[in-house]
Symmetry: C2
Subunit: 359 residues, 2 copies
């Protein structure tokens, strides 16, 4: 690569002039028109690009954003989110650097996650290493895709004091770190409304936040007494979904509709329904959350509450850019959208859920 020195000597001016002219192409007051033209032309001829390390060392800004996370959280669709963030950041001149903390990159619960399998001490050490890498590199900002827990929040708070940081996918849980996420209340409301309108009165919620079932019941408060919402908190993987269908049959056959806070979890129910000969949605309605690719490629296609993945990335990028400019920002809370497909329909009228033997 040509350096500023070569451009300067080739154009017959000093490096200060080259630097100034190239960095302020529209300021006419600092160099004569001829000089400026000469510099532009020489730079073009040698395909001069300023060296990022030289510039960074001098200005103290790297124009790099690090993305810190144990990537691969169930179905968070993180690839699309990174895509959204990367487009926004690049438009503003920032590059994106990966800083993996854990076991897995992509949404995929086939491969174990570090947080699930490392000991707490190991996990914390990996996290601290990742933080060190970020510090060494001198990134200007950080996108936090890691799950924030009581065990690691101190690390992130320390870091956020030195470098602008934005949490994505969920509230950070501390005021110093602004966050991008989809309004959890709205997710419940969209699903509850859809189920209620289709006549569902006995609903099972899988995963989600504590209190979700209360929220839904509250939303249904104007309705009669014939309604019930139950919840199984620790149910999120595909295999969990398969297993839960058996529990429904045995323990709560009155359920007509299921809201799974995770498309993969919902997919497990659909899979098991096929093996058991239970017809979806005629016998049981299933709603997922996220709208991952899978959800429109299984049979029947999954009704789901879409969490905008790309948009979350864009919003996180925008927030971080504002933060790096020194602005104060507030959380960016996005809205979900109901996508009606074939896995949900009118509640069955005929008593309890039963298995028909498959033909």
């Amino acid at each position: 690569m040509a350096t500023i020195k070569e451009i300067a000597s080739e154009a017959g001016v000093s490096i200060s002039t080259v630097s100034y002219v190239l960095n302020h192409p529209d300021r006419t007051d600092k160099a004569s028109k001829e000089t400026r033209e000469r510099i532009f032309e020489t730079a073009r001829k040698y395909r001069y690009k300023p060296n990022a390390m030289g510039r960074g060392l001098r200005t103290g800004r790297s124009f790099t954003v690090g993305i810190l996370g144990q990537l691969g959280l169930y179905d968070s669709n993180i690839g699309n989110t990174i895509y959204g963030a990367s487009e926004v950041l690049r438009s503003a001149g920032y590059n994106l650097e990966l800083t993996q903390t854990g076991r897995m990159w992509q949404l995929n619960d086939r491969i174990p996650l570090a947080a699930d399998h490392d000991s707490p001490a190991q996990y914390r050490r990996k996290l601290a290493e990742a933080v060190d890498r970020l510090l060494t590199r001198g990134v200007d900002g950080i996108l936090l895709a890691e799950v924030v827990t009581e065990q690691n929040i101190d690390l992130f708070q320390d870091l956020a004091e030195r470098i602008p940081m934005v949490k994505v996918f969920a509230p950070s849980g501390c005021p110093e770190i602004p966050s991008v996420y989809v309004d959890p209340a709205e997710i419940g409301v969209l699903a509850a409304q859809h189920l209620w309108e289709s006549g569902h009165r006995h609903v099972l919620v899988l995963g989600g936040r504590a209190g979700t079932e209360a929220n839904i019941l509250d939303f249904w408060k104007n309705a009669g007494n014939e309604k019930q919402v139950r919840r199984i908190p620790d149910c999120r993987t595909f295999d969990d979904g398969r297993a839960v269908l058996h529990r429904i049959l045995q323990e709560m056959p009155e359920v007509t509709g299921v809201l799974a806070y995770n498309d993969n979890n919902a997919a497990g129910i659909l899979y098991e329904a096929q093996t058991l000969g239970i017809r979806i949605p005629e016998q049981l309605s299933v709603i997922g959350v996220n709208n991952i690719e899978l959800s429109e490629r299984i049979y029947p296609r999954l009704t789901t509450v879409e969490l905008p993945a790309i948009r979350q990335g864009e919003a996180a990028g925008e927030l971080l850019i504002a933060l790096m400019k020194g602005k104060t920002v507030t959380d960016s809370i996005l809205s979900p959208r109901l996508i009606r497909r074939e896995s949900s329909g009118t509640a069955r009228m005929t008593g309890n859920l039963t298995m028909e033997k498959k033909k």
Copy 2:
């Protein structure tokens, strides 16, 4: 962050000594034991980490690898591949920087790709911009995940002359750029063997390379005359798969087995089979290629030829590290693996494929 200067003054030595001792912790000949201890301790106390830009500027090495690509190629499972590469590169001290060229990050044919939708001129401009970014940043090596075509190969060849580069997912098509990929012949052989053993004699191939059908026939040459392999080259998306099932019914009902060079494509066939009431695998065997997450979450679960995604990333990282050390390397050609699931079975005995009306 503490700088070397602060450590030096705190430890009462010069910065040269600090730098030397910290970079050669095991060399005892250059500083007294006491001095060394003092430096180590001070560095630990201030959590000193050398500034990557300062070091990079001086040494001419950034310890950063750029990944260049229009990420999101159908089902290439690129997230896992990046994960594999990132682990290997990090162990060797390298960071990974994203350099997107196109529209989409993640495997997903729901969102259009730049190469499909930009004009050739636009696309080339985006690519050139991405190359410029890589040059500006001074990356030490490049992972090329872009599809190499006649239209863009010159750009990559130019770049490979300046910076070590490794192509992943397919042969680069030029000797200057070593590549990592799965042996395409082996993919065909694994599928052909499986189909043959299950009694399939009329097979349809979707996608893949030109000549695949000839290869399979060649592999079957010792068998009798009753065999036929056809191929539809331009068939790769989920919707393509849905459509092709209708073509099979109408134009080639003698087909008993389908080999789709793409799991999403195969998933489309399974989906359409369900809507038409065609039983898989009893009436038609379907084999995919890749083993993406989807393939074990649809019903019936998909038999597929697995292309090792993480391993491809690891191999690419290893190749690139060797290249950056100045070694000469050769292509790394990996082997696929057949994963038997429920979408394939014994060839049906009863004449042509027909639709049964769904109950």
